[in-house]
Amino acid sequence: MKMNKQSTTGGTTGRWGLGRFKLLAASLVLAATANAAAPPTEEVNTTGLAVTDDTVTVGILHSITGTMAISEIGSVQAEKLAISQINEAGGVLGRQVEYVQEDGASDWPTFAEKARKLLRQDNVAAIFGAWTSASRKAVLPVIEQYNGMLYYPTFYEGLEQSPNVVYTGQEATQQILASLNWAAEEKGAKTFYLLGSDYIWPRTSNKIARKHIEDMRGLKVVGEEYYPLGHTQFNSVINKIKLRKPDVIFASVVGGSNVAFYKQMKAAGFDFTEEDPLLLTISVTEDEIRGIGGENVEGIYASMKYFQSLDNPNNEEFVAAFKEAYGDDMVIGDVTQAAYLGPWLWKAAVEKAGSFDIDKIREEFAGIEFNKAPEGYVRIHENHHLWSKTRIGQAQSDGQYKVVYETEELMEPDPFPEGYQ
């Protein structure tokens, strides 16, 4: 399925910026003639990737059907936006970026199969994709076998560091430690109730959270619980929370369960603006709030690296461009922003290496900076994760977060945290 070939003919399709492409087409013709300055293909591509004298092809691999489509569509939009902006700015090594999009269909074996297709048949120079940890784990052996490079956008549980993946979201300690410190120091929290959906990410996150609360800070965990994915009845756990009276509910409930959980909390008489208890989540972005309803989450705190409301010039431009491309009613969550970083970081690495070759790019990752990141500034660590700030936002009734705290320094990514395993 080849969509949106951005060629000099201007015959583009796709959901964004159609009008702008008519204009762009003209400028591309100019750009193509200027390509004479681009380094010759045989120099920048020695491993048979899909690179020609004026184009380079990358892959986008997300679920656009099935249960995960809800979450992954924002990432697809962000990646396409980044690619179109890169093209407007002259492409990568003088080449326009084209993409092949494949649908993982919320099914992990399909992800692996499509990754194989992208690497073997389309010879893509990079893959932007995967969302859940399960899909990343499914794609991983394929990417490593054929020596591809995956740019993975989701915040995740850590405990992984592949030479063939760049992790543009936060790993668990970045997201969790700062937020727990904040709750203990700023809000004086003493007791915590950990609640999550039952799969690897919430369980690993809560394991780290419990270690930090009990061993590092000497505070107390008064409950830890997991509910099956898709669970819709939370009355029993709400009663338990009422009985234990924790200072903080630390929530990592995902998907449709999220909607049920917050609606039922609200119905059970919890008013989060009173912060008694305070609800701190690592799983509710602006995207999720659209489904839950702002009135049901008003007052909760989320720990992320990005909120749509961040006040900086990069983000203003990003939000404006995103809304222009996809409509004014769009909201942008943490993962969407992280997905937007992928193509830009790939471009920076390619240009630093002066080559599209995966092995040469890999050498150059450590220390690559991106100053135009909507979240402010990021830098790639030698472990392929990003240095980034962690922020706490408080949900407002209009579905946006208001940033109440941000770490002073960039948080170091630490996918194998010592003392937390």
């Binding site: 059907t65 619980e225 009355n235 009663n239 009422k242 609606k263």
Partner: protein
């Protein structure tokens, strides 16, 4: 577990936990009744049941949007209209599906299974194309949010009470329809002996269509009610389907009373175990018990005794 709590705190928690169990019970009853009618009366397993529920939820979403834009003064009462619309829309689609598809597949239970599963995929993708892949937020009138404060510690969620009342009304209405009306007599006659029923002049094809439409309509009302407590997205229906089948099969396929008894048993067991040992473990144990009982009584809790 209750160390350090006063007696009144413990009593209030038990009261609220009892309410949680009843509220789960009414959710289960609402989910299962539509499926039970279709399965029990026609022997058709409707795999698209969850998608019909979500159709009801989307109808509610559209109605809510309509009232907000055009009749904001009546917004407080839109939910009742939405439920009626949800019933009509789902029943109409149900009748259409029966006419196009199901009626050609009677006596081929496995094929109906496959056909309705295909239908569920088509419906999911249709929702995705029309409403987008993201979940939609259904706005509720102010009076339906929040809780009754019975005492300082005992708070009863209004949406839970509302679901309970709807479940009661629908179960009661269904009982009257099935056991006290001419239509019900005909349905039961067709179930017991189709050729004989046809011989005395009952239009069995018409009865089938009406029954399928009724089951789908009830699914729609359930979906409308669940916008208060759950999510509305293209694949949200999948979250309900497993529990629904569990309840209907466990209750005994041809008995509405069985469905209600089984919903009660499963909801109480699950909600009690959830309180003492957490969600995932409660689910595992509930399923184990159900599997165990079905091994001993394959026909379910309350099987209709018929000669085969």
């Amino acid at each position: 577990m209750f160390d350090g709590y006063t007696t009144s705190e413990v009593m209030s928690i038990f009261a609220m936990q009892g309410f949680a169990g009843l509220s789960l019970f009414s959710v289960f009853v609402l989910m299962a009744l539509g499926l039970a009618i279709i399965f029990g009366q026609m022997g058709v397993i409707n795999m698209a049941h969850g998608e019909f529920m979500i159709l009801g939820a989307y109808t509610t979403y559209l109605t809510s949007g309509f009232f907000q834009s055009y009749l904001p003064s009546l917004f407080g009462g839109y939910f009742f209209i939405a439920m009626i619309l949800a019933f009509l829309v789902c029943a109409a689609l149900g009748a259409l599906v029966e006419w196009l598809m199901i009626r050609r597949l009677y006596h081929r239970p496995l094929d109906t299974l496959l056909a309705t599963w295909g239908l569920s995929l088509i419906m999911q993708q249709a929702y995705r194309s029309i409403f987008g892949a993201r979940e939609v937020g259904v706005e509720l009138p102010e009076w339906m949010l929040g809780a009754f404060n019975v005492t300082d510690l005992v708070q009863l969620p209004i949406n839970g009470l509302f679901v309970m009342i709807i479940a009661l009304l629908i179960a009661g209405g269904l009982y009257l329809l099935m056991y006290r009306s001419g239509y019900g007599t005909k349905v039961r006659a067709v179930v017991q002996n189709r050729p004989m029923a046809e011989a005395v002049g009952i239009n069995s094809a018409g009865i089938d269509r009406a029954t399928f439409a009724l089951g789908c309509g009830i699914a729609g009302v359930a979906g409308a009610a669940f916008t208060m407590i759950g999510s509305t997205g293209p694949s949200s229906g999948q979250a309900y389907i497993v529990d629904t089948f569990l309840i209907v099969v466990f209750g005994g396929a041809q008995s509405l009373i069985g469905t209600i008894v089984s919903a009660f048993g499963i909801s109480q067991a699950q909600s009690t175990m959830e309180f003492f040992m957490g969600g995932s473990m409660a689910k595992v144990l509930t399923l184990l018990v159900v599997v165990g009982i079905l091994m001993l009584r394959p026909e379910g809790l309350m099987a209709l005794k018929v000669r085969r």
